[in-house]
Structures are given as C-alpha cells and as structure tokens.
Symmetry: C2
DNA sequence: GTCTATATTGTGATAGAC
DNA sequence: GTCTATCACAATATAGAC
C-alpha cells in the first residue's frame, strides 16, 4: 500500500473513531507511519485528505448496502437482510456520524458525499418498498419514500441508542420493532 | 444570572453546536463573558463543567418529553404528539449528539446522563405503547419495548438525515412513515 | 470571585534539505 | 517523495495578585 493510500486509510479509521474535529494531522501521520512532508506532499491539507477519506468510505458503504439490497427475494426479505446485516454497532455509522461534525456540516464539499450516500440509500430502499407495495406485499396506502426514511433513520438512531448504553441491544430492539411493523400480514 | 450559571449555559450551547471535542474552555469563557480564573474557580476543569452542562440539558430534555407524553389522549395520540412536537431539527438532539463524541463515550461520568435520559425515554414510551396494546389500540402481538426503541431511534436518526441533507424534510418523512405503520387500524 | 501572567503540549501548516 | 526544522496560534491548565 502506498504512503498516499496509508494516509487515506488512516484518516478513514480516525474519522470513524473520533470524527473530523477530533482528528489531527499529527495523529493521522503517526497512524500511517508517515511524516509531515509526505502528508502535505500528497494532500493540500486536512480538509483535502478528509475529503478523499470520506469519499472512499461513502463508496464502500454504498457498495455494501447494494450487495445486500440486490439479493433475490421479496421486498420484505431484502429490507430485513439490510436491517439485520452484521454491523459493528458500537462503532456507529462511519458516514452518518459525520453529520454531527460541525466542520463537516459547515463545508459544502465535505458534506456532499455524506448527503449523496444517505440520499441514495433512501431512494434505493424506497424503490424496494414501492416494488413490495405493487406486488401486494405491503398495504396500497403506504408511502414508500416515507417508509424508506423511517428505515434509514431507525438504523442511524439505533447506533445512537447503542452507543449511549454501551450495548448493541437497543439497536437490535429498534430493528426488531420496525420489522414487526413492516411484516407482511402484520397488524402492528 | 450568576457567572457560574452563564458558564453552564454557554457550555450547553457550545456542546450542542460543536460537541465536547470541538468546544474549548476559551470559547466557553468568551461566550460567557468570563475570565479563565472564574471558570477554574467554579469548576475543576472542562470535564467538570461539561458534566454540569450535560446534566442540565438532560434534565430539560426529560421534562420536555414528559410534558408532551403526559397529556391526556390515546397512546397513539401521545406518541404522535411526541414525534410531531416542534423541534429545531437541523440543530439535532443536544443529548443524542453526545454519543458521537469520543471523549464523552470514553468517560463513564459524562456518558451516564446521556444513557439515563435515552433509557428513561424508551421506558416511558414502552409504557405508553403497552397501555395502547392493553386497550386494544395496537395488535396484541406487539413488543412494546421494541417499538419504543424504534420510536426513539427514528427521531435520533431523523436528525442525522436532516443534517446530512441540510433540510428537515427527511426527519418529517421518517416520522410520517413510522406513524403510518403505527396508526390504529392500519395494515401498513 | 475575578483578573493577569505563565507553562506545556498540541494543531495545522510552510520551507527547504536530501 | 520523504525528512527535519520551524512557526504562529490554540488548548488546557496552574499561580498568585487583587
């Protein structure tokens, strides 16, 4: 792995762990085993390096989600697979956590990949929900876009509950509750 | 308002805006119009002051939620009132956002009020859901604890989606989706 | 209780040698 | 491409005068 790559990977790790504000160039360099000079040779500065790291993390998250959502099966089954997929719950979402970073939100450039990824996920889920609705799997009255937002929010909020309590249990409970409400033939 | 109080209130504002890692003692002092000496006279340091601020914010959040949840009406109506209550959506949840702060999560003392508040909220909502279930408002098969976790997660995750997109629309969509799934007599 | 002075370490970056 | 030196400023305090 090139020094440039190690810098990006180290930044991804630290952004996930400590966020943008809590991650210093020095910490990145030490984690990557690179000197100041290397970092500033390959990147204009902290925001530039962070942008490369965020883009890579966002791409990876999208690919992972697509991998689960594009499996064969009913709409409900695919949504369940997405919700129950293995996760490092206590670490939280490497993309979603950036929304709590004031400097990321203040920067159009840094916020863009975060916004685009979550927006893509919502749209992808909305399509699946809509498919399920058309197939008679869900009630005809159901609003696919709204349900998709609920699904993504339950996951993102599940991380919050899990991290607050120091246990993945609350995340799992939130997912279980949502699935019980979505279950075909369920009355709540 | 005493200097001590101004320090706490300033810390609350800054913790909400920038988180623990992003908030410096100097910024707090300037916001409060107090000198270094005052701050270190009233508080042992940044963690001590942050603890006072977090406790106050947590207490306030609990009181606000209880105010909405203790109104008369059906279980569904109270849950809807909670979900639709006026919020400064783009600012996010002043308690929930702290779960993304590495230094808060790393400290038993600082995490405790966050955990207790979200845990109280889940339990309070679970009680209301259970009431609704017993009254025949919801399906008998419904798991009150799980649904409560879903409700809190939808709110916390709604903030994430809203901040990512720079608009409250996604928060509102998530809430709408959840309410449509919970609606008495709904089939989804 | 509040103020100013001082100290140590970290942050984020530039300059220029190798 | 990588390294070390250097820099101005911020973070987080302590000390002691007032």
């Amino acid at each position: 792995m090139s020094t440039q790559d190690r810098l990006i990977e180290s930044t991804r790790e630290l952004l996930w762990e400590r966020g943008y504000v809590g991650t210093s160039p020095k910490a990145i360099q030490q984690h990557a085993g690179a000197g100041q000079g290397s970092m500033y040779h390959h990147f204009k500065g902290k925001p530039d390096l962070a942008l490369a790291a965020i883009r890579r993390t966002a791409d990876e998250m999208r690919a992972t989600a697509e991998g689960v959502l594009s499996t064969p099966g009913s709409a409900y089954a695919r949504i369940e697979a997405y919700l129950r997929r293995e996760r490092d719950v206590l670490r939280g979402c490497p993309v979603g956590r950036l929304t709590m970073d004031p400097d990321v939100i203040a920067s159009e450039e840094l916020r863009a990949p975060v916004d685009e990824t979550l927006d893509w996920l919502r749209a992808r889920l909305a399509g699946i929900v809509e498919e399920g609705r058309e197939q008679g799997e869900f009630a005809p009255s159901l609003d696919a876009e709204a349900i998709a937002a609920t699904i993504v929010a339950t996951v993102q909020g599940g991380y919050v509950l899990a991290r607050a309590s120091g246990s993945p249990a609350a995340f799992d409970a939130g997912v279980r509750g949502l699935l019980s409400l979505l279950a075909p033939g369920s009355t709540g």
